[in-house]
């Protein structure tokens, strides 16, 4: 029995929440529309805001297979769609030769058959699956070049790929496609036009606390509140790379491992490398600036508690 897609925006939000993914209304809306209209979802945002995670949670909660295509420069059809198993083909030809009775066309048919086809992610996503159409995650599309992007146009608009030796393969039911980009390069408008676009932003304090509670339940409540408030105040600073949600979660588990129950300036200085990944940024925050931010955070929290 195939799990049905959510019927409303609320149901979408609940579905993600059941997979420990806390999202805001705008993201739930665009995801609902993408599922409803059968269009790919194009997510852009800074690194570590949970773009990839959406696809994983979606696959898990819907009980679908997750097929991930990690993009890189020079990604080509052979590693994204299909490849022939050349060594097996060679052996097949030798065997046919040894028997000596087989005709030339028959050898070609036998060699370019399903048996020797190695399916890569895009072809896997198009082939039918018992659990229903799979979730296809095309991760960090900005890392490929324009040539691959242009190739994706055919796949994403018709959900079909053409293998010259076998013909065109078309998906019976289109996969649920999630495309992510860190925006290290602008993606072409033609591709964006075929997708529903959403910019994934950093969460606000309330949602980040909820995320921390769902994802890092081991962290003491007071510590979690301080962590979130500190990270939120860091995001208001003038930094080259702001810490994402992933960094918040990493920091929370790091501090929990260190058995901390509250933040203090020394611990922050020692573990700042978990949050900030550029030396300039670390140098700017470490020491007095970190202490100032922490004092501010503690003051705010005590006011809120009263």
């Amino acid at each position: 029995m195939m799990k049905t897609l959510p019927a409303s925006i609320d149901a979408t939000q609940d579905l993600l929440a059941s997979g420990d993914y806390i999202c805001d209304r705008s993201l739930a809306t665009v995801l609902f529309l993408a599922l409803k209209m059968g269009r790919p979802l194009f997510l852009e945002g800074e690194a570590g805001v949970g773009k990839t995670e959406i696809a994983k949670v979606l696959a898990e909660t819907l009980g679908r297979r997750l097929i991930r295509l990690q993009c890189y420069e020079g990604l080509d059809v052979a590693s994204a769609v299909y490849e022939w198993n050349y060594s097996a083909q060679m052996i097949e030809i030798r065997l046919a030769e040894a028997e000596g009775t087989v005709k030339r066309d028959d050898v070609a048919d036998a060699v370019f058959s399903e048996k020797f086809l190695i399916k890569r992610p895009l072809l896997q996503a198009i082939d039918s699956d018992e659990a229903g159409p799979p979730v296809l995650l095309i991760d960090e599309l900005d890392r490929t070049d324009e040539a691959f992007e242009a190739f994706l146009l055919e796949v994403l608009s018709d959900f079909q790929v053409t293998i010259p030796e076998l013909g065109t393969r078309k998906a019976e039911a289109p996969p649920l496609v999630v495309i992510t980009s860190n925006r290290t390069r602008e993606i072409h408008d033609a591709l964006k036009r075929r997708c529903l676009y959403h910019w994934v932003d950093y969460p606000d304090a309330e949602r980040e606390r909820a995320i921390l509670k769902a994802r890092a339940p081991g962290a003491p409540e007071k510590l979690a509140a301080e962590i979130v408030a500190f990270v939120q105040s860091l995001r208001r600073e003038d930094l080259f790379k702001l810490p994402g949600v992933a960094e918040t979660l990493d920091w929370a588990s790091a501090l929990t491992e260190l058995d901390k129950i509250a933040l203090d300036p020394e611990t922050i200085d020692d573990t700042l490398g978990v949050l900030l990944k550029y030396q300039d940024d670390i140098a700017k925050i470490q020491g007095s600036e970190a202490k100032r931010l922490l004092d501010q955070v503690k003051a705010e929290l005590s006011v809120a508690a009263q």
Binding site: E73, G74, W84, Y86, R94, V107, A108, A147, F240, D280
Partner: protein, 410 residues
């Protein structure tokens, strides 16, 4: 409805030769205005008009539009040409005969729509088949540069050019092609002398012989020029050059893909999309609308910071090269500039600084801004005349030909 169609057909038959002739003339006007219109299109147009009949003016417009226009930037020119040409029968001839005596006087009183200058030239100038032959020949002679004139023009500082010379320089810039050193990418193409075996092609070739022969096919890495980012200063001290550089950027961005252009003075503006229009007048009009800080002050540090923070990670991927066009005269704090130049330098494949001040032989980097920026660039080049722009091509072709900044600073 039938009546109309029949009338149109009859009209087409009666006046067929005349209409076809007019369409041909219209096609020639379009061609002179720069649209790629050949006899094939004219024949198509005649056929299309016969197929549709001439019911409404707008039908006629879109019929011709469908045949003659092949790209977005051609629409404006077509639109104007259509309305001028088809205003009433014989209009062109009338225009020709009445307007020709005034032709020599340049019309500069009112603002011209983009492309209009070229259209009026196409309509009334350069006509080679009619009675005004000698006059048009004169124009032809004027428009062309003799070799020695071009030589002088190439070495002349943009700042000292007359309006005429500037126009010629702009035309030369439009023809300029920057060859750039391609880098290897992680894609392959078939190449008989390639270094790797292409298994797939080998398999297919061998099956062509029933698998008896294994003829190894080879492949080699593809190459392509890396992305290019141009950052151009448009502050007051650069104002006599910025117009030329805009033409230069327009020529660059129409010549090749993967180029991003920014202008900066007190703030940073991305003008890549505005430059995409092929018609240079239209493109530059759009740029001047988009930019607010023409000929103002300079805040190089702040603008570079904005670039690094919001654009650097988006357009400096895949081994991008950066052309920084500025005189380096910055009134802002230099401390900021140092860090941002360093970051820019470290995030691109090569940073080339083009500075018009280098035209002076005795140039010494005395201004604090220039001294701060110099250690962070890979090449430091003059850019003040056509020759220096052409030489830029050599710099971009050779990785090592760049003048080391140390010698420039010494």
């Amino acid at each position: 409805m039938n009546d109309v169609r029949q009338t149109a057909d009859a009209l087409a038959e009666v006046e067929g030769s005349r209409l076809a002739e007019n369409i041909m003339h219209f096609g020639r006007v379009l061609r002179r205005a720069g649209l790629p219109v050949g006899p094939g299109q004219v024949l198509d147009a005649v056929e299309a008009v016969q197929a549709c009949g001439i019911g409404w003016r707008s039908d006629f417009y879109w019929t011709l539009h469908s045949v003659f226009v092949h790209a977005r930037h051609q629409r404006d020119i077509f639109n104007q040409a259509f309305h001028v040409f088809w205003r009433k029968p014989g209009y062109l001839e009338a225009m020709m005969s009445t307007m020709i005596p005034q032709l020599a006087i340049p019309v500069r009183e009112r603002e011209k729509a983009p492309g209009e200058a070229r259209l009026s030239e196409a309509l009334f100038g350069g006509a080679d088949d009619d009675s005004e032959g000698p006059e048009s020949e004169l124009i032809e002679l004027d428009a062309r540069l003799t070799f020695s004139a071009e030589e002088i023009l190439r070495k002349k500082d943009f700042e000292q050019m007359t309006v005429d010379e500037q126009a010629q320089a702009k035309a030369a810039i439009a023809r300029l092609r920057l060859k750039r050193r391609p880098v290897k990418i992680r894609r392959f193409r078939r190449d008989p002398g390639g270094s790797r075996v292409d298994l797939r092609a080998t398999m297919r070739a061998s099956l062509r012989h029933g698998g008896r022969l294994v003829d190894l096919k080879r492949k080699e890495r593809q190459t392509r020029p890396p992305p290019l980012v141009v950052l151009c200063d448009i502050s007051g001290s650069m104002s006599s050059y910025s117009r030329m550089f805009l033409h230069f950027m327009h020529a660059l961005s129409n010549d090749r893909e993967r180029i991003t252009c920014f202008l900066f003075g007190t703030r940073l503006t991305n003008i890549t999309r505005h430059l995409e229009r092929r018609d240079v007048d239209e493109a530059l009009d759009r740029v001047s609308e988009a930019v607010e800080d023409w000929s103002g002050g300079t805040r190089i540090g702040a603008c570079l910071k904005e670039f690094n923070y919001t654009w650097g990670r988006r357009c400096l991927g895949q081994g991008a090269e950066v052309l920084l066009i500025t005189d380096g005269l910055d009134r802002d704090d230099v401390a900021d500039l140092e860090g941002e130049m360093d970051r820019l330098h470290r995030s691109c494949r090569r940073l080339t600084w083009l500075n018009p001040l280098l035209r002076y032989d005795a140039f010494e980097p005395k201004a604090s801004g220039i001294r701060t920026m110099l250690p962070h660039v890979d090449a430091f080049r003059p850019v003040h005349n056509l020759e220096s722009l052409e030489e830029l091509a050599n710099v971009l072709m050779n990785d090592r030909a760049a003048m080391p900044p140390a010698t420039a600073a010494a």
